[in-house]
C-alpha cells in the first residue's frame, strides 16, 4: 500500500508494479484508475486518511488475495488532488483472469465502503466534507 501527498503518478506506479511482477508468472494484471472528474464547480478533491486502520484493512485483503494465489495493490492520495488527475489506483495480479476480474470488483467496492478515507470538495480554496457521497462504515452507530 502506498500513500502520496497530492495527485498520483499513475503511469509510474502501474509500470513499477508491472516490472516487480515480471517473473511471477501471473497471467492477468488488472489495473483500476480513479480520476477526479470536473463537476459541481470543484477545483479539486481533498482527502484525509487514517493510516493505521487503512493498513489493517489492506492487510486483510492481501491475505484474502493470497489464499486465491493473487496479489492486490493500491495507492492513494492525501490532501488536494486537482480535477483530471488521479487520487486512487489499485490492481490485482492473478494466475488466471477470472480471479483477478472478480477480486478487483470486490476490492474496489469494499474500498469505497470501508477504507478509512474522508473526501472533501475544494471550492474557492475551501474544503467541504462530501457528506452526501460518504458511507457509514460497517458497524457504524455503535455509540449512538
Amino acid at each position: 500500500m502506498e500513500l502520496y501527498n497530492g495527485p498520483l503518478d499513475s503511469k509510474e506506479i502501474f509500470g513499477r508494479w508491472l516490472d516487480e511482477q515480471t517473473e511471477s508468472n501471473y497471467g492477468a494484471y488488472i489495473p483500476f484508475v480513479g480520476t477526479i472528474r470536473a463537476e459541481d464547480d470543484i477545483e479539486a478533491l481533498s482527502f484525509d486518511i487514517y493510516e493505521p486502520v487503512l493498513q489493517k484493512w489492506f492487510d486483510t485483503w492481501q491475505e484474502k488475495a493470497d489464499r486465491l494465489g493473487a496479489v492486490v495493490k493500491m495507492a492513494h492520495s492525501i490532501g488536494d488532488v486537482p480535477v483530471h488527475t488521479s487520487s486512487y489506483v489499485s490492481a490485482v495480479f492473478s494466475p488466471k483472469r477470472r480471479v483477478a476480474l472478480e477480486l478487483i470488483d470486490e476490492f474496489v467496492e469494499d474500498f469505497k465502503a470501508n477504507a478509512p478515507i474522508w473526501k472533501y470538495d475544494v471550492k474557492n480554496g475551501e474544503r467541504i466534507y462530501a457528506a452526501d457521497r460518504s458511507t457509514p462504515m460497517a458497524g457504524a452507530g455503535l455509540l449512538q
Binding site: K112, P116, W118, Y129, P136, G141, L142, Q144
Partner: protein, 73 residues
C-alpha cells in the same frame, strides 16, 4: 484514563476520560451536543482495530477512534 479521538471531518480535538467499557464512552459522548449529528453514523476503532461490541473492557491508555462516513477514491 483513555483517549478518544475524532477523525476526518469531525472538527473536535481528542479528549481523555475515565471509562471502563465502550458503553460508558457512549454515555459520555452523548452528553456532547457537538456530536449529536455524528454518533449514529460513526464506526469505532479500539487501538486501531475496528470493534462492534459495547461491552468490551477498556484499560488505562487505550485509544478509541471515532470514524465518520467514508468516501475514498
Amino acid at each position: 484514563m483513555i483517549k478518544v479521538e475524532f477523525l476526518g471531518p469531525i472538527s473536535k480535538a481528542a479528549i481523555e476520560m475515565e471509562a471502563e467499557t465502550l458503553a460508558e464512552v457512549s454515555a459520555k459522548l452523548k452528553e456532547d451536543d457537538t456530536l449529536t449529528d455524528w454518533l449514529d453514523k460513526c464506526a469505532v476503532a479500539l487501538n486501531d482495530t475496528m470493534v462492534n461490541d459495547l461491552t468490551i473492557t477498556l484499560k488505562d491508555g487505550d485509544k478509541v477512534s471515532i470514524l465518520p462516513p467514508v468516501c475514498g477514491g
